[in-house]
Symmetry: C2
Subunit: 292 residues, 2 copies
């Protein structure tokens, strides 16, 4: 009988739980709000135990400790979310459902989902980032998700704030980081309306595309990915992709020459799995945990 | 009998050849200028063949193809160095000395040297960069050197050019990249003297430290390394390290909190192996190639 794999995509707002198989077929899925962990983690663990899953893959909001060699592996770091700071997420899940578990960040598992089932299938060096309420990057290097001291926090790279930008960084820590200048809240603060209601305002997307292009120049020179995938609300604004690609090539200015860059329309792309890249990545992470 | 391992550090100016053992003991070493490959590669291969080495590790100047899955693995990419563009470096070395060979960039092998024998021994996530004639980064992630489409070209990340900087980028491609603003030639162009002759000019090192600190903010948020190591001529200017650490912490502004960052004097450090990190990394790369 095929293994039953649990998938838990733990976002900052919503928790998505699913059961599926190693081929990416989801059989059942529920969701619940991300309230205090004491109220919701035992309930989630019980749900997976009731489903008799053989393994679970967890993609958690960060910052969190994802390096298995770290004694704090599976714990959430300091966070403004009530009750979650220093919470032993993985340990408490295991306490309620003792099966092999994979544990990584929400954006790393989304990257894994795209590399396993989506537009990066077959590639082993992939950069995925999401531009929404926040900006976060998931990175695969040589087939493995990038861990280190912690995990990428590449939404907080410093960019060049453009002189004609009428807004300011909304990041409380940085005056010119990517998240501060280009996240959904920064768009809303700058233009006085939500991004979805600004679709026909060219100046909004020209500016947004410029910051995203700067960030991709940095990601490409740092990670040398075989593909760059953009998720989050911005990826729904199809008109932005040609702008991003053009501005990125201008910033790179021919410094690198590869067959991937020659095919820029397939190099910088929107996410491909209809917002299921995260939960499918959790499934793959669970499968890998079962394999050991 | 212990394996005899060949090491070839192929820099843009000098080629260093050595024979040693897996423990990092170098028995013999020679060097020669980096002239056209047809004149020097067969001679180097013969030298290693005469020494009866069991394997060779090669650290090559970039850009070059370091991903073993790429059909062009071991070839140099376009380069201004006469004769080297698209040269099959690894193939021609094998033609003259058919032993297992590891092949990577000069900065990746320096990173490997530090992670195997130097100040990053025992760590598996390390960022090494050299600030000299150019700026290049070598990166270890999860114990493996970072490869992808190509390799890191993280000397060309875009930085914020400071308003009080009296100079301009010397990079022909980028108006504000790290190499353009902070390499040895940029220091010389800006201040009218070589870096080594400017040791007592505080403003030189304050500015240099700022660009390096900006770059480290980006490397730390992108790679999440357990240690950041600086090599090249700048690492000889000991007075710059306290400035770099202070400015880096200002740029990061408390966004991340880890035990490594709490010990900042041991987090951002100069290279530790007395300029032998590259050739020792080649030795380790050769050892890994022998193990297969």
């Amino acid at each position: 009988m095929a293994a039953r794999i649990g998938a838990l995509e733990a976002g900052g707002t919503t928790l998505v739980l699913a059961v599926g198989d190693a081929k990416g077929n989801i059989k059942e899925q529920i969701s619940m709000p991300t309230v205090e962990p004491e109220r919701v983690v035992p309930e989630m663990a019980q749900w997976f135990a009731d489903k008799k899953v053989d393994a679970i893959g967890i993609g958690a909001f960060g910052p969190t400790v994802v390096n298995p060699n770290n004694p704090d592996f599976g714990k959430i770091c300091f966070t403004p979310k009530p009750g979650w700071s220093y919470y032993d997420f993985l340990g408490n899940m295991k306490a309620g459902c003792d099966v092999p578990m994979g544990y990584d960040t929400d954006v790393n598992v989304a990257c894994l989902g795209e590399a396993t089932f989506g537009c990066a299938k077959g590639l082993d060096s992939v950069c995925y980032f999401t531009v929404g309420t926040g900006i976060g990057a998931g990175v695969m290097v040589g087939g493995q998700l990038l861990h280190g001291m912690l995990h990428p926090e590449a939404g907080h790279i410093l960019l060049n704030k453009l002189p004609y930008d009428p807004g300011n960084s909304v990041c409380p820590k940085h005056t010119c980081c990517f998240e501060g200048l280009a996240s959904g809240p920064s768009i809303e603060a700058r233009w006085g309306a939500k991004a979805v209601d600004l679709a026909d305002r060219d100046e909004v997307w020209e500016l947004e595309a410029d910051y995203i292009a700067q960030a991709i120049e940095i990601y490409v020179t740092c990670y040398s990915p075989e593909k760059v995938i953009i998720g989050g609300g911005v990826a729904h604004q199809e008109q932005i992709f040609p702008m991003i690609r053009k501005k990125f090539l201008t910033y790179l200015n021919g410094y690198l020459s590869t067959k991937e860059l020659d095919d820029i329309d397939n190099y910088i792309v929107p996410n491909s799995l209809n917002e299921k890249q995260g939960i499918l990545g959790c499934l793959e992470l669970g499968r890998r945990a079962l394999e050991g």
